[in-house]
Amino acid sequence: MSDIKRLDLEYSQLESDRMRINVGPQHPSTHGVLRLEVEVDGEIVTEVVPHLGYLHRCFEKHCEKMTYLQVIPYIDRLDYISAMNNEWPYVMALEKLMDIKVTDKVEYIRVIMAELNRIANHQIAVATFGLDAGAFTPFLFFFRDREYIIWILEKMSGARLLYNYFRVGGLAADVYPGFKEDCLNIVKQVRKTNAEVMDLLIYNKIFIQRSANVGILTPEVAINFACSGPVLRGSGVKFDLRKDEPYSIYDRFDFDIPVGTGEVGVVGDCWNRNMVRVNEMEQSCRIIEQAIAQMPDEGDVKALVPKRIKPPKGEVYMRAENPKGELGFYIVSNGTDKPERIKARGASFVNLSVIPEISKGYMFADLILILGSIDIVLGEVDR
């Protein structure tokens, strides 16, 4: 009874024509168990309050109880759509801490795996963005292609989504025969589908009407909110860790950084963010083609480090360009085989924090599109 009274009091303080809606935790377009408390004035969104934590799995607490090798399966589960990319900064951080150099072949395989996974991730991002706008067919076209990519990743690592493939100083397994042909076929298929979806969805007038000029994120706000990945580049900031802080062997490849151009709408709106992803798929295809051509055939990929990893005492922060943005791992080692502290700086977590800022004043249907254009994965937000 007292609860009801308190609610009444709270509602009486609101202006009479506003409505509070809970979008989520169970909702078709929150991409997981996110809850947005939305205040709408008719159809206009006046306030958004995100509530997180429905998928909190105590990742950081878990890590303190586990050895460095056992952490990798858990890292897969952060951003479970692009698990290969997730593992990379973690193993790079440990390699930096232990001062290990990996062989060229390992680096090339890592690049190919990460770029394949980047394509798979962007396919889901663009597909679900279209789905949020109501277009169902491109969604399944992308999922069909993504399945081919996942078949390659499964043949390489043994699992469809949660690969556990990268090891400190190496990889879990070598390439299989016919790997290069598979990759080149995928690249062809990805380009074909992209061209099709361009006509079917991206340049569709209705889709442009829906997503252009919506959720405009200016570069200053984007940097202040530390947005990264396509969200930052959609605002016209030419910043990509693969170019600006080349880790691994990315300095050997020739590729461009797609940024929001304002070809349609305004720089920094949903359409441009989405377009950056579509263009990035093409760039990833280019990287894969070059990497396949340059990759040495001989060489061992198994890690040449002891089975029990004991990094020296120290702290290291390593970041890599994930499909969703910058994923950083801050690892504090105390000299034992278990980490003292691992902090994962998830790109989705940081990118999501911009939602209340950019969705005010737009319509309720736009809020869904803005959320879709930011491309979050709740596994990474809630950790």
């Binding site: 409505m19 809606i21 909702h27 078709p28 377009s29 159809e43 279209g130 789905l131 949020d132 706008a133 109501g134 277009a135 169902f136 067919t137 399944l140 076209f141 069909r144 079917l200 969805l201 569709n204 209705i206 889709f207 009407q209 829906r210 319509m363 309720f364 249907a365 736009d366 809020l367 869904i368």
Partner: protein
């Protein structure tokens, strides 16, 4: 009123024949809805390079029946603190609105349940009943998503009725009758006598053909909006409003909404067929012309229109509310007025 029904000829005017006449369209609607649901499943699957349902019966053709059986078995949930009477009434009202329109739809030369002279007017009158049902269902559900969906839906239905009515009125001007059977009879002959190609007339009608084509398109687009189909499905816009006005419905009540949607699709397709595509007339003069072939032509034409609706649904994204209003009031309405004036001019000069 002239005798327009073969059953009256067969059985005479008595209670049995009236009952039969009333229930024949119902039979038709039920069978048609099952086929349309299957068509929706299969067409969407093929467009998306899937196979669709394949397990129930050969190629999954029994899937709609399985779904109906499933829906019958489902628990019928009435939300707590909902307005029970309105909540339970809404699906029936919506279905009634959709079904009542069948009273004036001429399936054949010798079968129209009620050949009233104001057929088109009647269709628009009863078509608006479903708006009441939607508002009832949305408001009584005691759910904010339902309420928003219902409000959007009513705004949409009212806005798009005007361009649709303008399109129909133009044809009424051309045909100078509102009796659907009469409109059909005017269009007999080859397919260039259809009203979408300006109706019967001399070569002087050539300049009015673009306008009648435009009217057909305007009516088709408005009919999509009136039946809440993509790209105008914002009342049930799944990604933002979960399921819109029928979020809380389950079981058979949900099935009623479902049936009503498909029945509505057929009604608008039937009206489009009757007033633009020659109704039960064969496209090729006397070839396959006759009362029984009439049913075939009518149903196949209407079903083709339904298939186009399905095809569009799996191609396009969804509009936003304000864009929907923009299209309704600022695009379709002015254009329909222009077409109306052109057609009136044509009739005056004739």
């Amino acid at each position: 009123m002239e005798n327009v029904n073969f059953l009256y000829d067969l059985l005479g005017k008595n209670v049995i024949s009236v009952l039969l006449i009333v229930s024949l369209p119902l039979m038709f609607v039920l069978v048609y809805a099952l086929i349309a649901i299957l068509a929706e499943l299969k067409v969407s699957a093929w467009i998306q390079e899937r196979l669709g349902p394949m397990r129930t019966g050969p190629w999954g053709i029994l899937q709609p029946i399985a779904e109906v059986v499933k829906l019958i078995q489902k628990e019928d949930i009435t939300p707590d603190r909902s307005s029970k009477l309105l909540y339970n009434l809404a699906p029936f009202i919506i279905f009634t609105g959709a079904y009542a329109a069948f009273a004036v739809i001429p399936f054949s030369e010798y079968f129209v349940p009620a050949g009233i002279n104001l057929g088109l007017f009647y269709i628009f009158a009863v078509g608006s009943i479903s708006a009441i049902g939607i508002v009832m269902g949305g408001w009584a559900s005691n759910n904010k998503y339902s309420l928003m969906g219902a409000m959007r839906s009513v705004a949409q239905l009212i806005s798009y009725e005007i361009p649709a009515a303008m399109a129909v009125l133009s044809i009424v001007v051309l045909a100078s009758t509102m009796n659907m059977q009469e409109i059909n009879k005017i269009q007999s002959g080859w397919f260039w006598n259809w009203f979408i190609f300006g109706g019967p007339g001399t070569l002087a009608k050539l300049w009015v053909i673009p306008f009648t084509l435009g009217l057909g398109l305007i009516y088709f687009i408005s009919s999509l909006a009136e039946t809440n189909r993509v790209p105008f499905d914002i009342p049930e816009g799944e990604s933002e409003l979960v399921a819109g006005f029928h979020t809380e419905y389950s079981g058979m009540k949900f099935a009623m909404f479902f049936f009503a949607e498909y029945a509505n699709m057929f009604v608008v397709a039937a009206v489009l067929t009757t007033i633009f595509l020659g109704g039960w007339n064969s496209p090729f003069g006397d070839f396959m012309q006759g009362p029984f072939w009439g049913v075939f032509w009518f149903v196949s034409k209407a079903f083709t229109v339904v298939l186009v609706q399905i095809w569009i649904r799996w191609t396009l994204p969804r509009f936003r509310v304000d864009q929907l209003m923009y299209i309704g009031w600022k695009v379709l309405l002015p254009l329909s007025f222009i077409c109306f004036m052109a057609v009136s001019l044509y009739v005056m000069l004739k």
